[in-house]
């Protein structure tokens, strides 16, 4: 029915699911050929903590909204999911547009229009919740758009800078 490749903490798992949940709520899952019985919480809000039981092992896990990381008492791990049936991997971000991740005030702009930047280079300082937050370049390239100046208030998701 479904086959997925799960990248988790630098390991790769091939997960196959061939049938719907049984009467007890468990789904038979094969992970790298190993058979497991897995139950998960009924689809709730994506923000909620999910519970799951694998065979007799209960888990509480917290997935990101976009399922790019998972947190449990065993730590926080990067996650990558590829649905082989769907044929395509989900698109990655990194299109060079920097949007305001939180509302705040621009404390400082560290680049100029046309300037070339490398990945991770500080672009601007966004002040919010009494903290100065450094926003860095998601990719290398030239600054093609620069919409902000120091002192300016920005709203959530406002386009601040574009790199191309």
């Amino acid at each position: 029915m479904s086959k997925l490749i799960i990248h988790l903490a630098d390991q790769e798992f091939e997960v196959e699911i061939n049938s719907p949940p049984d009467a007890e709520g468990f789904t038979s899952v094969s992970v790298n050929g190993e058979a497991l019985r897995v139950a998960i919480a009924p689809a709730a809000s994506p923000d909620a903590t999910e519970w799951a039981i694998v065979d007799t092992r209960p888990y509480e896990v917290l997935f990101d909204r976009d399922m790019r990381s998972v947190q449990s008492i065993h730590g926080r791990h990067e996650l990558r999911i590829r649905d082989l049936e769907a044929g395509v991997a989900r698109p990655r971000s990194g299109d060079g547009r920097i949007k305001a991740p939180i509302p705040g005030i621009i404390a400082n702009v560290l680049v100029e229009l046309g300037q070339n930047v490398s990945v991770g280079e500080p672009i601007l300082i966004l002040e919010a919740m009494k903290m100065q937050n450094e926003i860095t370049a998601p990719r290398a390239g030239a600054i093609t758009t620069l919409n902000v100046q120091p002192g300016q208030t920005v709203v959530l998701h406002e386009l601040l800078v574009e790199i191309s």
Binding site: V15, I17, E50, V54, D83, P103, K130, N133
Partner: protein
């Protein structure tokens, strides 16, 4: 005792003060900026006044107007905001309203950190070695000269804050001015005061703090030592009491020094005396925090003393109800500060709607918070979300319990530092008790769980992915674009 108290603050500390007042049977008056209209400290108060000035909580004049209009006989300003505004203190005094906190002159003395150290030195107590005066970051030549005299490595500290924002270690003259500039900017943003001073660095070091209570009748008691060495992103996020691995003689010496310092300044109310401990175990006075601290919960857990209650008693002019001999520091307590921030994205603050909030329970666990499922973490204020503290008969029991409590605590809808805290409190350096301030800078590699657990998590991720995809398909297209597929939430790395 007072009849009615104005709480000139917001968030967790405002809620904490409302609770202390209610436990004493005092009426409470809350204030709120428009965005805090439904906040918990407002809901729980007897009266609430909107602050309409653009300065909001930071406007001493409007605060005084509310105090007069509501007819309170005391104001508790908590910490931060206008809690140490000299003008507000004077205005309250003139109006005959008691301000819960140190008097203006004491406050001014300890806020002048270089002066305070010099005064303590004069009283014969060992102190850290500060620069001769404070500086503006523009005073480059003077700073370099002073640094030369102190010697490297040295610490740049902000005049306004504590060990927090603005504190930076400098190893050589080349970097001094750059770092000084940045420290000053950070302090300016956080405390609206960019002045800095220098201090000879002590490496390795621990921060040992001693909370004290002083009344208006000359009585001063100390409430035991605690360790506040562990910071992340310039904030103390873990404290414990008593400080681990000190000899009884060391504890006694530190606590005695704290009481002497308190006497030197004539401190009243609840204050904390901070020391730096060097590798050889010598302690050096560093500064006085003349206010209730974020981590006062550790003190409360080991002493069974409600510190805010005592602040109110003292401010009302009552003598301390317990003597030093009656203070019993019993067992051990560990405190965690839970912030709305993402440690994996440079501690980016994470405001928003709290969609899930499950508190730990059971014996010897306490959480203080303004939050609950359905509450909003506002954008404008500090990221402090909740304070967690546990008690145990001894440290080992405490370590088990704090792990358990962190496992039970779940917060959804926003990012928090819970995973980071879990890693820290299970780290061998922390569990051994042999940590110093260097632990604050340690890069924490997420330990890889055993293969069997990773395999289980992979299976759970796969099923969850399919379940979410199904849910997304079965609802309207709008949900598809605003739900977990939404790309715009993704932050630049």
């Amino acid at each position: 005792m007072f009849q009615k108290v104005l709480i000139a603050n917001r968030g967790e500390i405002a809620v904490r003060i409302v609770r202390a007042c209610r436990d004493l049977g005092l009426a409470t008056v809350a204030v709120y900026e428009p965005g805090d209209m439904g906040a918990l400290h407002v809901r729980l108060a007897d009266e609430a006044y909107m602050l309409s000035s653009p300065q909001g909580y930071r406007d001493p004049e409007e605060m005084l107007t509310v105090a007069l209009r509501s007819g309170v006989d005391a104001v508790h300003p908590g910490y931060g905001l206008i809690s140490e505004d000299p003008g507000f203190k004077r205005a309250c005094a003139t109006a005959g309203i008691t301000l819960v906190g140190p008097e203006s002159e004491v406050s001014a003395q300890v806020r002048d950190k270089v002066g305070a150290i010099q005064r303590v030195q004069a009283a014969g107590i060992a102190t850290t070695r500060p620069s001769s005066r404070t500086f503006d970051p523009e005073e480059g030549a003077d700073l370099l000269a002073e640094a030369q005299q102190l010697g490297y490595p040295l610490v740049i500290k902000s005049c306004a804050g504590g060990h927090g924002r603005g504190t930076a270690l400098v190893y050589s003259a080349e970097k001094l001015l750059n770092i000084a500039q940045r420290s000053s900017a950070q302090a300016q943003a956080a405390y609206r005061d960019g002045r800095i001073y220098l201090e000879a660095a002590i490496i390795p070091s621990r921060y040992i703090e001693v909370p004290i209570l002083g009344d208006h009748h000359g009585n001063i008691i100390q409430l035991g030592d605690q360790d506040g060495s562990i910071q992340r992103n310039t904030r103390k996020i873990i404290s414990e009491a008593p400080a681990p691995n000190l000899t009884p003689a060391q504890r006694e010496a530190i606590c005695n020094s704290a009481v002497e310092v308190a006497r030197t300044f004539g401190l009243r109310g609840a204050c904390t005396i901070e020391f730096v401990l060097d590798g050889a175990g010598n302690h050096f006075f560093s500064e006085v925090k003349p206010r209730i601290q974020v981590e006062h919960l550790v003190t409360e857990m080991i002493t069974h003393i409600d510190v805010v209650r005592e602040q109110l008693h003292i401010a009302a002019g009552l003598p301390l109800r317990i003597s030093q001999a009656q203070v019993r520091c019993d067992g051990h307590a560990i405190f965690c500060r839970i912030n709305a921030e993402d440690p994996w994205r440079g501690y980016l603050p994470s405001p928003g709607l709290i969609s899930a909030f499950r508190l730990p329970g059971g014996p010897n666990v306490r959480v203080d918070s303004y939050a609950y499922a359905g509450a909003e973490v506002p954008v404008r204020y500090d990221s402090l979300l909740a304070k967690l503290v546990v008690w145990g008969a001894e440290r080992g029991e405490c370590l088990q319990r704090i792990q358990r409590a962190l496992q039970e605590l779940h917060i959804g809808g926003i990012q928090t530092n819970l995973s980071l805290l879990h890693m820290l409190i299970t780290h061998p350096e922390f569990t051994s008790g042999n940590y110093t301030t260097a632990f604050s800078h340690l890069k924490l590699n997420v330990p890889t769980p055993p293969d069997s657990q990773l395999r289980d998590l992979a299976a759970i991720a796969a099923l969850t992915y399919l379940s979410r995809a199904r849910t997304a398909r079965s609802t309207t297209p709008a949900a598809y674009t605003t739900g977990w597929h939404r790309d715009s939430r993704r932050l630049p790395q």
